[in-house]
């Protein structure tokens, strides 16, 4: 009797193994296996959400599963290293903002060159935004500068992590205007928002998707955005540029492929992504998420990528002085 059990189990195991191997018998790109997009941040964050939005819009178009996988380990380097180690066949991509990919590479030793990464598709632009509590005595950017010049180091600014997407524009702004503020690092946009609302810091630096709802409800006021043009979800907020300060440092969530992925596959997938984000359902999803869609294909994304690298190099070397 024990023997029978043994055989039955073995038989079942074999059946399953056959089943598994059969199911990977398919045709051509992109149907051979699951497409995976790796995110160097924890689940629930901005890049994760944009990735999932893209995935759900694109899946029906290519008739293949797209999984978004979060690997926040080692400050994001695990995800990067993982994608580098994958076979370069167009089934593994990296979705990130410039922090883990560029900033880390410029400030520490990493195992890749920035030129090894090919931008495939940019999902959205993430614009650093300065904001205050609605009843704050700071009326606008110029007011901030005037008050800060009169009494330096009085205002505290909560900005995400050190050298993060909202922090760098703050540094740039301080350099340009010569004002001094107390820079208070926080774990991210949420904490900066909480501190501003609670009156623990005077000014906050974050992104529209984090503060959008509170601005609409009148609990916070956005002072300025750091992009070329105004942000659709904050139509009344001027850009720094309009106000006369050249602080233009938007971030992006872009999908990257590592160096040896074939060009034709990149071409194929970026076309599909562009198509996906132009559908009505994608557009309405994005509107709900306060995500400003910028469906740029590989050529434009690559230009923006290179420009960002240059900007950051300059900014970071300024910092060192």
């Amino acid at each position: 009797m024990k023997r029978k059990e043994c055989f039955l189990m073995l038989f079942a195991l074999i059946l399953l193994l056959v089943f598994v191997s059969l199911s990977s018998f398919a045709a051509e790109y992109p149907k051979e296996k699951v497409i995976r997009i790796f995110v160097p941040y924890g689940a629930g964050g901005g890049s994760d959400i944009s990735g999932r939005m893209l995935a759900s819009a694109a899946q029906p178009l290519i008739d293949q599963r797209i999984d978004v996988i979060c690997m926040p380990g080692a400050g994001g380097q695990e995800a990067i290293n993982f994608v580098m180690d994958q076979p370069q066949d167009g089934y593994a991509f990296l979705l990130t903002d410039y922090g883990p990919l560029i900033t880390t590479a410029l400030t520490e030793k990493v195992g890749y060159d920035l030129s090894d990464w090919k931008a495939v598709f940019q999902i959205t632009e993430v614009v650093p935004t300065f904001f205050v509590k609605a009843d704050s005595p700071i009326k606008d950017v110029n007011d901030w500068i005037a008050k800060a010049k009169a009494e330096p180091n009085v205002f505290s600014v909560g900005h995400g992590r050190y050298l993060s997407v909202p922090h760098l524009p703050l540094i740039l702004f301080e350099k340009l205007t010569g004002i001094q503020n107390k820079n208070v690092p926080t774990t991210g946009g949420s904490e900066a928002l909480a501190f501003v609302l609670g009156g623990h810091v005077d000014i906050g630096a974050s992104v529209p998707s984090t503060i959008g709802a509170t601005v609409k409800a009148g609990q916070t006021r956005a002072l300025a955005v750091c992009s070329e043009e105004r942000v659709p979800s904050l139509p009344d907020t001027p850009t720094m540029k309009e106000l006369g300060y050249d602080v233009v440092l938007p971030a992006w969530y872009t999908i990257f492929a590592y160096k040896d992925v074939p060009e034709d596959r990149i071409e194929f997938i970026q076309n599909k992504f562009i198509e996906a984000l132009n559908t009505e359902s994608a557009k309405s999803m994005a509107k709900n998420l306060n995500i400003f869609l910028t469906p740029y294909g590989s050529k434009k994304s690559q230009e923006i990528y290179n420009a960002t690298i240059e900007n950051l190099k300059t900014l970071l070397s300024e910092l060192k002085k």
């Binding site: 924890g42 689940a43 629930g44 964050g45 994760d48 959400i49 999932r52 939005m53 995935a55 759900s56 999984d67 978004v68 996988i69 979060c70 690997m71 926040p72 380990g73 080692a74 400050g75 994001g76 380097q77 695990e78 993982f82 180091n153 505290s156 992590r161 050190y162 050298l163 107390k182 820079n183 208070v184 690092p185 926080t186 774990t187 949420s190 904490e191 928002l193 909480a194 501190f195 609302l197 609670g198 009156g199 623990h200 810091v201 984090t210 959008g212 709802a213 509170t214 609409k216 409800a217 609990q219 309405s284 999803m285 709900n288 998420l289 306060n290």
Partner: protein
């Protein structure tokens, strides 16, 4: 009236009920498996959230949260291995309770207090969301630091092997927490060139390693020791304690009432801490335990299997379910990592957490409230049904049990963040835990210090930055002074208490 009717209609659709039940079932199961956590299950299911209607999706995710808060207690009590980080404290009295012959009482106490705490904070969510959230906002770096100091001092209360060992363990925990990027500037420290450690030591591998793996290693060692001594009797060491007397292990309403004070303390603490952004269910469990011990009529029995020591942390960790959603819904600021995940799910359904969430999505939000409430009830029912099933697993012959649970924990740890480094950390932590256990060190303080350390450091440094480098800024807040006062009073009481024992 019409509105109430449509809300109830939305909430009681069969599909919603089914997904809520599925969620609770998954939550309890995942919670009971060491190495897997509710957060992981929620993160894995996020992609499927699209396919469901908003109320079903949210019902399912909330069900998982609730279920996992209780599920962790099952393995904590049955085999001394916490199924989730939040169940670590439950184990302090839960496992001794099982060893003393009343596992069923302990588990049912855990279940009932979990549900009570959960229900309590859900009701609070529904009725007091706004005022509670504004209190949470009063907590800035200065207040948080005071809270963390208070919690770290609570460690002294948890100590079993003597204060010296407890504080040394806390020191070790603090130290391990300092490895990696510092919380303020991000400079890497203490990684000795191992770049994989840049992000610091992750919580779950450390936790599962220090508690679960170390226990498994030790049991393996004990089994081996016994088998080498050629003992013929199958000594399970865990499940078949000689003299299990079912008649002494009956749960009754009277028993529930006897622990009610502890349960309520846990519920209040858990709700409060759950509403604070950044504090989590583990912290809630620890503080609840410490507070319950403080107010108990039998504080000396804590750690020996007293049911109050199971009721308080379970109520505490479950109370964070409703509470952590409060700041999420009102301000878009999640009160815990799990709430952040639920926030992501809300966003994917087109619902923007934040001040306008009720105006923009009135029907859905109110239906959601109803679902959260009845999910608590489901938790009660499903938990009750699953206890005998999952606890039986502990009855399996131990030589099969330990290696299997170990592998589950190992693979589960890997699956949680797709990282082999995590597995190595798991093993090292396991070794550390085993060596410390052999020396009769209390491990609770180590883990708590590890969890709280970075937060405390960050709060301290943020406070100093805001205050321009003046240490006096720490005393500029009434809330902070309050916490420090309670800490001082508690230390004095503790010293007096110790003298009484001597």
């Amino acid at each position: 009236m019409d509105f109430i009717f449509s809300v109830l209609q939305e909430a009681f659709v069969p599909e919603v009920i089914m997904f809520a039940m599925l969620g609770v079932f998954l939550g309890v199961t995942v919670g009971a498996i060491p190495g897997l956590s509710g957060d992981m299950a929620i993160a894995l299911l996020l992609p499927f959230v699209y396919k469901l209607g908003p109320v079903s999706a949210l019902g399912m995710l909330i069900g998982i949260y609730k279920g996992s808060m209780f599920g962790g207690a099952i393995s904590a009590i049955s085999f001394g291995v916490p199924g989730t980080p939040a169940a670590v404290v439950t184990m302090e009295d839960g496992y001794p309770a099982k060893k003393n012959g009343y596992p069923k009482k302990a588990m049912l106490t855990a279940l009932y207090s979990s549900v009570t705490g959960d229900f309590f904070s859900t009701l609070l969510l529904i009725f007091l969301a706004l005022p509670l959230a504004s209190v949470a906002l009063q907590f800035g770096p200065v207040e948080f630091f005071a809270l963390y100091v208070f919690a770290l001092l609570m460690i002294a209360f948890l100590v079993q092997g003597g204060i010296k060992k407890g504080l040394a363990a806390a020191g070790i925990g603090l130290f391990i927490g300092c490895i990696g990027m510092d919380p303020v500037i991000g400079t890497t420290r203490l990684i000795f060139g191992v770049s994989r450690l840049r992000g610091g030591i992750p919580l779950i591998p450390l936790l599962v390693g220090v508690f679960a793996v170390s226990e498994l290693i030790i049991q393996f060692a004990k089994e081996w020791y016994r088998s080498r001594l050629k003992k013929i009797k199958e000594l399970s060491g865990l499940s078949k304690e000689s003299g299990y007397d079912p008649s002494k292990d009956i749960m009754s309403f009277k028993v529930y009432l006897s622990t009610l004070k502890a349960t309520l303390i846990g519920s209040v603490m858990g709700t409060f801490i759950g509403a604070l952004p950044g504090a989590g269910s583990s912290l809630a469990a620890y503080v609840s335990y410490g507070a319950a011990r403080q107010f108990s009529s039998h504080p000396e029995q804590f750690g020996k299997g007293i049911l109050e020591g199971v009721a308080a942390p379970e109520a505490g960790n479950s109370a964070t379910c409703g509470a952590s959603i409060i700041p999420l819904l009102i301000f878009g600021i999640p009160g815990s990592a799990t709430a952040a995940l639920i926030g992501a799910a809300l966003i994917m359904q087109g619902i923007n957490p934040g001040p306008l969430v009720f105006q923009e999505n009135t029907l859905i939000m109110f239906s959601f409230f109803v679902v959260i409430l009845y999910a608590s009830v489901m938790n009660l029912g499903i938990g009750y049904a699953l206890i005998p099933l999952y606890a039986k697993i502990a009855m399996v012959k131990s030589r099969f049990l330990f290696p299997s649970v170990f592998l589950f924990a190992l693979i589960g740890t890997y699956a949680s963040r797709n990282s082999v480094t995590d597995v190595w950390i798991l093993l090292v932590a396991g070794l550390l835990g085993a060596l410390l256990k052999k020396g009769k060190f209390p491990l609770g303080p180590l883990v708590l210090a590890f969890i709280i350390g970075p937060g405390a450091e960050k709060a301290l440094r943020q406070a100093l930055l805001i205050g321009g480098g003046e240490w006096s800024v720490l005393l500029k807040s009434p809330i902070a002074i309050g916490f420090y006062a309670i800490s001082v009073v508690s230390i004095i009481l503790l010293i007096r208490f110790q003298k009484k024992l001597a």
